[in-house]
């Protein structure tokens, strides 16, 4: 891709940064060198392409049902609508959000950030991508064969006994993909423990590594539980063995306990890595050490631990004991504290910094704002009496999209822009990128803010027909979704464009501190020509105080 640069360097190109002669992208070109690669960077890119594919499938489903929701009666058949929101939930949660940051950015960056040559188990890493693809293939099969209509939550006994759609194939797909997540988590844990470069102590690790470490703990400990829950649904459905359906002697609420025991921590699988990205972005673009580094690092671990103790807050109106509800409410308030610590520390990082408003910072600032709203509305849902009213309404839909889209997707896009020069060696077009960051922010808020109001008015989620009075807010939401859809397509276009036409970035286009900026862009296959020795703290920008 850089033949021209190599053959005829002009005077301008000599002065400007150029691409290195040999790097991980041009070392080999054969299909096998990609499909059988053990290079974490190439596997990261394989994940990037795969999750982008699923993101646009999930997004297309959302576009269709947002169109449907423009009118109270709608055009689609109810079953079609139900399959669309299920497809949206399953692809976005299991095939986009969960792998997004750990498997793309984490895969690419963690070994480089800690000064290692690769992850601890490169073959396992490749296997994890293949498992993801096999699981994804099941999901595509289900989509083409006729769909599944249980919602991504698979509540029993609807999923295990009553639904006439492709529940089994979907369950198998998610079960397999779960192993991909477990293997990625395991790989990251072992890598961070065993592969750090000389001098890279735990408290010199970038916060991105800390947060992915905490995420990996959840992946390894939580995913088996959801795998078991889904397997049990399949057993009941396939063999009629009563586990969840009371007609067969089972307990439908048991499923909810098993499902949320994983799926609440899964929310943190999605958002913790995003917090790690934001820590990096805020530090780089304020040229300051992240304020309260150790507090932010331990907040990640605290969130990972507490995330396993709050699942019952999804079940306040499920008929569980009111005392159980009280305990889960209390624990849910506790988890607000580490989240608040992070928000205040990021804000304080800007203080006395040297701030530049590049695209990644716009995304990071958007993340902090939207995550704050998402987190604060989480308090509404932890407060028992308010949850009774807004549970299973659009209020919930708005709340978790503020966390997962306003939070995770913003951070993911910010991270993609920030590390794009490192991954590809070329800069993206800054002006277009800033416009698209602003569009994402505006489109997002127009889509999801009206849903808070709809939720308190009482519009239940998963309704394809609704009373006339809810139409104005639904139209606003759909209008926002069309802006958001465009704002997501836009970066894909100019990022692809930049692969050929982007300016060569140079090793460290942001003047950032961190091992990933000390190697070339793109890095060589072995990441560093010689093992780096770390003798400085993380984010040791000039003038920063290291506590």
């Amino acid at each position: 891709m850089s033949a021209e640069d190599k053959n005829q360097p002009t005077a301008a190109q000599l002065a400007a940064p150029s691409l290195p002669k040999k790097h991980y992208l041009n070392s080999r070109y054969s299909p096998g060198s990609w499909l059988l690669t053990k290079d974490h960077k190439r596997i990261g890119l394989l994940y990037l392409m795969s999750i982008t594919f699923f993101f646009f499938i999930g997004g297309a489903a959302a576009v269709l049902f947002r169109l449907e929701l423009m009118t109270p009666q709608g055009e689609l058949q109810p079953d079609t609508y139900n399959k669309l929101f299920t497809l949206h939930g399953i692809t976005m949660v299991f095939f986009f959000l969960i792998p997004a940051i750990p498997a793309v950015l984490g895969n690419f960056l963690i070994p480089i950030m800690i000064g290692a040559r690769d992850l601890a188990f490169p073959r396992l890493n490749l296997l994890s991508w293949y498992l993801y693809m096999v699981g994804g293939a099941f999901t595509i099969y289900v989509m083409l064969a006729g769909g599944v209509d249980t919602g991504w939550t698979f509540y029993t006994p609807y999923s295990s006994t009553y639904s006439n759609t492709y529940v089994m194939a979907t369950a198998v797909g998610i079960f397999i993909t779960g192993f991909s997540s477990i293997l990625t988590g395991l790989n990251i844990l072992v890598t961070v423990h065993k592969m750090r470069a000389p001098g890279m102590t735990w408290f010199r690790l970038p916060l991105f590594v800390w947060s992915n470490y905490a995420t990996s703990l959840i992946m390894v400990l939580g995913t088996p539980v959801v795998a078991i829950a889904i397997l049990l649904v399949a057993i009941e459905r396939g063999f009629g063995i009563g586990i969840f359906d009371p007609r067969l002697g089972g307990d439908p609420i048991l499923f909810q306990h098993l499902f949320w025991f994983y799926s609440h921590p899964a929310v943190y699988i999605m958002v913790l890595p995003a917090m790690g990205v934001v820590s990096e972005l805020v530090a780089t673009f304020s040229r300051n050490r992240v304020f309260g580094y150790r507090f932010v690092a331990f907040a990640s671990v605290a969130i990972a631990v507490l995330s396993f103790l709050v699942w019952g807050h999804h079940m306040f109106v499920s008929g569980q004991s009111i005392y159980e509800g009280m305990v889960f409410s209390f624990l849910s308030f506790l988890i607000a504290i580490p989240s608040a610590i992070k928000v205040f520390n990021w804000t304080a990082t800007l203080y006395k910094g040297t701030v530049t408003f590049d695209t990644p910072l716009l995304y990071a600032a958007g993340f902090i704002g939207l995550f704050t709203v998402g987190g604060m509305t989480g308090l509404f849902l932890s407060a028992l009496a308010v949850d009774v009213h807004v549970h299973d309404t659009y209020f919930i839909v708005a709340h978790f999209h503020y966390i997962m889209v306003g939070g995770t997707v913003m951070a993911y896009l910010g991270g993609i822009h920030y590390w794009w020069p490192k991954m590809t060696g070329r800069m993206y077009p800054e002006l277009w990128a800033r416009i698209s960051a602003v569009l994402v922010f505006v489109g997002f808020n127009l889509t999801f803010f009206p849903q808070f109001i709809l939720g308190y008015l009482g519009m239940p989620r998963r309704y394809h027909v609704y009373p006339d009075g809810f139409q104005v807010l639904n139209v606003m939401s759909s209008a926002g979704a069309s802006i958001l859809g465009f704002a997501y397509l836009f970066p894909m276009c100019y990022l692809l464009w930049s692969l050929k036409y982007g300016k060569p970035a140079g090793d460290n286009p942001w003047n950032a501190i961190g091992l990933e900026w000390q190697t070339t862009s793109p890095p060589p296959t072995e990441n560093f020509t010689k093992t780096p020795i770390v003798d400085y703290e993380a984010y040791a920008y000039p003038g920063s105080i290291i506590h």
Partner: protein
């Protein structure tokens, strides 16, 4: 009833305005913190922008109290919201003793209701204003959820187990009823309305209708029809099964040594899966009535057993829930 554009739902139950108060407090808190965080980010980002040369960037070690302050000061706020939300929740979920019991059977995709007078309705619930009403609910198939936004109340309706919800309407009129738990194809059509009436109008309404047989009377007929009496006596003598007079609300010892209370769920379970909890001293010989007696029929038999407990002289008027 949700015909016109609105930004805030009407409040029509005894708890609705209390829930709204907490909601507004939380909105205030959200605005405060969002504006604080967004304001600080904008202020710092602009003040310390690279182009600003007239700003002091000399850093000093941050005092530890700063970090501690934002760790500690949210705690009392969070505890305050927790206690507020929890105490209101307890109020919402503890029905008063004098509440009128209405039974609700949910199935894909309708609500079937029966008043204590026996009048039945589908997808519409008539209730008297300013009087507590308790719903005893069960689902015939999948999980549903009984949700009346104007009352700010919701309770999942589960198959295989009774759940209850109580409310006291404070406004006359019609209010939207939704199924809030996704239950299949016609989930969004599983809607209805709650009609709140003046108590005397309600009494008149109760007198109308075609079926006005109180549930306990139907229950007594079912008891005859299914020959329950051939094993269960009603005079306290021992038959092949325990006598059913005056047992409601009592503790019984099972043949596995456990002691359970005879409540709605216990009786329901004993009819559908009799072998699961057999009373001490009896043989597990009772056949299941699953498939023969509907959820509504079981509720009527339970009503009959409760009424016998009220008539029985030895009975202690214990509460059921």
């Amino acid at each position: 009833m949700n015909k016109e554009f609105q930004l805030f739902p009407e409040a029509a139950s005894s708890v609705a305005s209390s829930v709204d108060e907490l909601y507004f407090f939380l909105i205030g808190l959200t605005i405060f913190f969002s504006v604080l965080v967004a304001g600080l980010i904008l202020y710092f980002a602009i003040k310390y922008r690279r182009g600003n040369r007239h700003v002091d960037r000399l850093q000093h070690p941050a005092p530890i109290w700063l970090e501690l302050s934002w760790i500690l000061f949210p705690i009392p706020i969070l505890l305050f919201i927790f206690f507020w939300g929890a105490s209101l929740f307890f109020k919402i979920y503890r029905p008063p003793d004098n509440a009128t019991e209405i039974t609700v059977v949910a199935e894909q995709w309708m609500w079937k209701l029966q008043q204590p007078s026996g009048r039945r309705e589908v997808d519409t619930l008539h209730v008297p204003m300013n009087q507590p009403v308790r719903l005893k609910m069960i689902s015939q198939d999948v999980i549903h959820s009984f949700y009346v936004p104007a009352f700010r109340l919701k309770q999942d309706v589960i198959p295989g187990r009774y759940s209850t919800l109580w409310f006291e309407p404070t406004k006359e009129g019609e209010f939207q009823l939704f199924c809030a738990e996704y239950c299949g194809t016609e989930h969004s059509q599983m809607i209805g309305k709650v009609v709140v009436m003046e108590p005397n109008e309600y009494q008149n309404w109760l007198a109308g209708g075609t079926t006005n047989e109180p549930p306990e009377v139907t229950g007594a007929k079912l008891f005859e029809q299914y020959r329950c009496g051939s094993c269960h006596t009603l005079d306290g003598t021992r038959g092949r099964g325990p006598s059913l007079i005056g047992i409601f609300g009592k503790q019984v010892r099972l043949n596995n040594g456990r002691v359970v209370k005879v409540d709605d769920d216990y009786i329901r379970k004993s009819i559908y899966t009799p072998a699961a909890q057999v009373v001490e001293g009896y043989q597990p010989i009772m056949p299941t009535y699953e498939g023969q007696l509907s959820e509504e029929a079981v509720m009527q038999i339970i009503a009959y057993m409760k009424s016998m407990t009220q008539q029985a002289p030895a009975a202690q008027g214990e509460k059921t829930e």
